[in-house]
Subunit: 675 residues, 2 copies
Amino acid sequence: MNRRFYLKALGAMVLLVGGLLAIGAACGGDDKGGTGNGGSGNADLDAIAQERGLTPEDMKHALQAYVPPGQYDPYIMIASGGQSGQVLVIGVPSMRLLKVIAAFTPEPWQGYGYGADWGNTVLAEGNPSIPEGTELTWGDTHHPAISETGGEYDGRWAYINDRANGRMAMIDLTDFRTKQIVAVPNAETSHGGMFVTPDSEYVHISSKFPMPWPAGSYADLSEYQEKYRGVSAWMKIDQATGRVNLDDSFEIELPPYNQDLADSGKLVSAGWAFIGSWNTEMATGGLGPDGKPNPLEAGASQNNFDYLHVINWEKAAEVAKTKGVDTNGVKMINIQTAVEEGLLYLIPEPKSPHGADVDPSGRYIVVGGKLDPNVTIYDFNKIQDAIAAEDFEGTDSFGIPILNFDSVMAGQVEVGAGPLHTQFDSQGHGYTSMFLANGIAKFTLGEDVVKTDEAPFTLIETIPTNYNIGHLVTAEGDTVSPDDNYMVALNKWSIDRYAPQGPLHPQNFQLIDLKGGKGPMELISDTPIGLGEPHYVQIIKADKLHAIDLYKPGTDVLTMQRSEFAIDAGQEKVERNGTTVEVWMSATRSHYTPDILRVKEGDTVKLHITNTEQTRDATHGFAIANYNMQASLDPGETSNFEFIADKPGAWNFYCTEFCSALHLEMAGWFLVEPQ
Amino acid sequence: MNRRFYLKALGAMVLLVGGLLAIGAACGGDDKGGTGNGGSGNADLDAIAQERGLTPEDMKHALQAYVPPGQYDPYIMIASGGQSGQVLVIGVPSMRLLKVIAAFTPEPWQGYGYGADWGNTVLAEGNPSIPEGTELTWGDTHHPAISETGGEYDGRWAYINDRANGRMAMIDLTDFRTKQIVAVPNAETSHGGMFVTPDSEYVHISSKFPMPWPAGSYADLSEYQEKYRGVSAWMKIDQATGRVNLDDSFEIELPPYNQDLADSGKLVSAGWAFIGSWNTEMATGGLGPDGKPNPLEAGASQNNFDYLHVINWEKAAEVAKTKGVDTNGVKMINIQTAVEEGLLYLIPEPKSPHGADVDPSGRYIVVGGKLDPNVTIYDFNKIQDAIAAEDFEGTDSFGIPILNFDSVMAGQVEVGAGPLHTQFDSQGHGYTSMFLANGIAKFTLGEDVVKTDEAPFTLIETIPTNYNIGHLVTAEGDTVSPDDNYMVALNKWSIDRYAPQGPLHPQNFQLIDLKGGKGPMELISDTPIGLGEPHYVQIIKADKLHAIDLYKPGTDVLTMQRSEFAIDAGQEKVERNGTTVEVWMSATRSHYTPDILRVKEGDTVKLHITNTEQTRDATHGFAIANYNMQASLDPGETSNFEFIADKPGAWNFYCTEFCSALHLEMAGWFLVEPQ
């Protein structure tokens, strides 16, 4: 049957059943427009498909991805924003961008870093104390980690690291704002070592490239092995606020390998963690006119095995209390102590490994060696046995015991070229991204985990991705109970997937249907991400989030308490004290009170603005021409500015958020009389 | 029939016709995955719809919005990004965000404002010279204007204004980068006065709030009428580069009303322009503890009529050459000259008008008075007759002649509460957004334009929007030949349309099917915009864009010529001259050459980096830990940094764009030896 005939036959059939469908449509309740062309049956669908060139498969996928107006996506993706420094909130399956959350980079829509105190405070506290005077206005967000309770995402907070500068941010998921940035002591960079422990006791972050030790000292690369060190940082989470408390945090000194992806143990392996590494060669490059022809990419790829770091963090937390040494504001367990106390072991992992992912049962740890076509799967039970039996191949040059590879390896699966990261379903499958093979491989894990009658450690199927997949994610994929419906491939190149828009291409997220883990995997949609390179993401059930719609009147968003500068309507005032002018201002539709501010050039202005509304979505902005200030004042919020009136003139201020029919009239004058 | 019963009935029906549908599916030809559940015919569709709760109407809309993986959206939306300061590129009908283009706000993904010379240059040149020393790091983008040839979008450049600071930016649509920011002389703010003339001779921008005159002087609000002035600025476009050339630009002094939305004449009205205004009351507010109870929203809403400004710009361009007075770098035509030369007229427009939009024929100008339920439609032919006949009601207090309202008004249509903006199809319809009524009204224009048998100046239908619509746009809507398929409502509030994500809500874009202008209008999809308040947008046919994929080797992106600092592979070098270290570096998969840089604390570093690749999408980044530098180097691009090595240490630098399987290895060391 050719396509035209198919459509004709389909049309005839639809006429037969049109009556019934029309009844259905009339009961659908959402038919606002009245199409006037015979109802909404499949004749309509096929006409649209024909006009738009959609295949029958396309039609299915359209229905899988579409979320009707006014309905909610059942899943929310918390995505890193890569070099943008921000965090993206995306609905799944529609893949619509719900919000960009400013994290490490000032962002004026949210009034973050444009004069309002809350954002300026967060950004400033993220500036490293070593070296002094460093002011950072961007980050490279890589790995989000949603807080967990009992190994399940609990929707309270999300943490994300800064690849470039060894920092981390905490996002409060009640209002989706960044509330804290922490410059991680003794870490210059970070990459994939971020996760939360199953009950959010700690958020872990580790260094990527080592740095001269102790942090703040200098050493040339010729002293790399002796003086450079990495770190595994365990940042204590305050259970009331989600903030990191450095006093109760601790760190473990690590060899100058490049520590990489990491994951938390869970269930059977609770209390333990696993960190992949590469460049155990400790190569430092040296390419160039004055160097040796030895780029890091070659120097770091010599060894057949690098080391998976195995850490007993629950014990380490205790050891840190007595044997941790205060080091730049945090307790440090040095390598020797870690070895003596049985906190740190190494496992050989082939070859230039990247991902290190723990399956939902906690028993299996899957490593992708990007220069090896296999994924290697370790068994936590065997690891425990080997540790108990001191079944070591020896130690590395730092004295850390290396577990016998053959004793702890449970299986290997040849998946294809360039395996990187692995995610899981609840049926005992792993899904591994393959950068070089441009696809995802699905395979079985081992005994006690595989819920199907498939053989363990066996490749089941692959699906192509477009192009150059990095991470991938399954819904609730890092929890003890992944959902088995959606997977997203985070492709690094989009090449020809979108209409040309210049040499800088968007990333390409591909939504894939997992069909209850029963497969076959099926591509639903492509989504361009045109803001940074979202490196990793997590997907949480939307109903686990408990976001607020309003702030209580006069809220300081950092403390979530009433601000000392809050006012209610009618309490507005202006006070001058010497050369300081202090203003308590209200904002409501459609005016500021007061709406004329008169100061003299050079005055210090302290401006406290309260959005006195308690109506959902009644956000007001506040900006002054040429003063580079911009606030976003959500309903109930109080924000504060302090600045010098250094530009004489009559400057218009106005509401930057379209709030009402008379929004344009929501403006005033900041009059700075020249000296 | 309730919804549950409907779904049950639908399921039963689907079983009946499943066999026939399965035959159809087998002929579809694109079934890649093998679903294993009876093919991909409508049985599948209905099963998905049932599972996901989609109504028959939803199913249609899903097919209308879906763009299959790897296929291109036929339309591209260039959207302002509001307070984010950026510009968004969105595909239509999929509404996928293809790119955020940094314009007024530094953005690290694109390496814009994070040390690379091109972006730093553009941002710095956008700093106003009045007042001196003003450094702006954000803007409030409002009105994009795509360049035109013969009244059609030509896809060369896009311009956008900064509401907050009276500036404009030029985006090169060959590489989708911002290439120029202009601080518009004598304008402190701007709003909706941006458009390009039909052959891109000029890009127009006008002030929003007036400022003390001449710009740079000070005057209190008590001298508002005497000393404050607005401006209509005609910025000359260099036809080779798209850049604004101030030398050939001119301005027209305007009364201290709030000039607002504006549009270019076209075809019959070519050479003319129209600018709405409000606050002809010249109210200045005064609300607050020390003021009078007279907010601007009330003071500016007293008059029954404000003034549509009618400008003969073609003649003004000539007059400026002889009678323009150099004023802060641009030729200014004062009000008196404008009146004497017949360049400027006023027309009464009811009441607190907002939109002022010229229909595709150029004959009709539609004004939405936001406090009047009518749209008022003026006839350009009548305007010309009235000017010729000096059919004036009088003059305003600045001596500008006011055309007789009844002589130039062609019709009024009562559309509903809060009419704002109007867009058009090719069938003689206007579509007006109604903020207060939460909807869009479709009505007919007048004679010679209405292509249907509908009566002129008649309301045809309305469609609800969710919620608080501001602007709206039709595909190719500001050209002489709009397409009649897609319309997008730019709703300011989303309230309950999306899963809760805190008090700051996204905007809500609603895609509407115009059905060839024949209606009825039908809602296809909702799209959240979670980054700023995109104020206005234009939609261009994607095939009118001619973006490049690669830069020629060693391109300086501002000149699009070979950079003097470009190198080819093998030409890398490091030169020290006193305390200056100059580096010519290459970047290619997967290393930098050189990859170790040794300098001393306090050295000046001049770093020239060329991405020597010529492969599509092979972008490399470059960032140094704790140095707050970030470049995005597209294939062929050369960028330059100059900075002081003021932070001693061993700092990792690395590629911030995931470029290859050994991307993590694309890193090096910036060694700053302490003094």
